[in-house]
Symmetry: C2
Subunit: 157 residues, 2 copies
């Protein structure tokens, strides 16, 4: 064991290690996205599904800006995503009584059902994954990813 220096001594030698890690994260993300979207009806993307899930998790009635911030996408992107969901009647946009500039987003029954069905349709993929890769390993990584995310999130001033 090396004597432990200061908590972390930033070292330019480490650069490739970061690249490798983030590269791998990117690949996993791409594969997961492809896996998810293969199960979604065409025209519905992860972005749509994620908004529905978010609204269930944190309660609906959020404003578009809140959603854009939560997903860290441009406001215009959220406008577009919400328009798609509204067109399919998975959400409803109502005026925000607290602020006439604003709106609030509500899930429709169809929206809730749709999400539930989508999740169920993905189950087989996860089951087949579970057969080859112990879920525990994902759980073990989660706290580390969360810690990383929080730091990176705080860093983007």
């Amino acid at each position: 064991m090396e004597p432990k220096g200061p908590p972390n001594s930033p070292n330019p030698q480490d650069l490739p290690r970061y690249f490798r890690f983030f590269n791998e994260v990117g690949i996993v993300n791409q594969l997961a996205t492809a896996m998810f979207e293969a199960r979604l009806p065409k025209g519905i993307l992860i972005s749509h599904f994620s908004v529905l899930s978010h609204l269930i998790r944190v309660q609906d009635g959020r404003t578009p800006v809140e959603l854009a911030r939560a997903f860290q996408v441009a406001k215009t992107t959220m406008t577009h995503t919400l328009a798609g969901l509204e067109k399919r009647e998975l959400i409803e946009m109502r005026p925000n009584p607290d602020d006439a500039r604003s709106k609030r987003v509500w899930l429709t029954d169809q929206g809730r059902t749709f999400r539930q069905d989508a999740i169920m349709s993905m189950a087989p993929d996860f089951m087949s994954l579970a057969a080859q890769y112990d879920v525990e390993r994902l759980d073990a990584m989660l706290p580390h990813l969360e810690a990383l995310r929080k730091i990176m999130d705080a860093a983007r001033d």
Copy 2:
């Protein structure tokens, strides 16, 4: 410790755990992408940078199809990305002597220099990250991510 059952018993109860994991991966990826691209000259995206890096890592002289497969993007997407790199003279496209339908992609000196400069310009971000998050934790996750990626990759028949 629980008695160890069969290696992994796929269990529908685990679904939310997968979602949480892949969701977190997505967020980290998004933050990393934003961090990288903030350092790249405008008009250059991660996709461009990644192709340059790939060509250095596995040797240039690859064909567009090979690159499209390596990154798992549509051929048309790679055509587009390569066009951007060529316009900026970071790569050169030459005919493939082995196959008249095909081309081979070569790095220019400018391309190599560009990549090196880009990496150096990102160093400060990584250093500041390293100060708060031990690189060892990333290294520890890497093999697990790689294993996961391989399984998912094989699964996408």
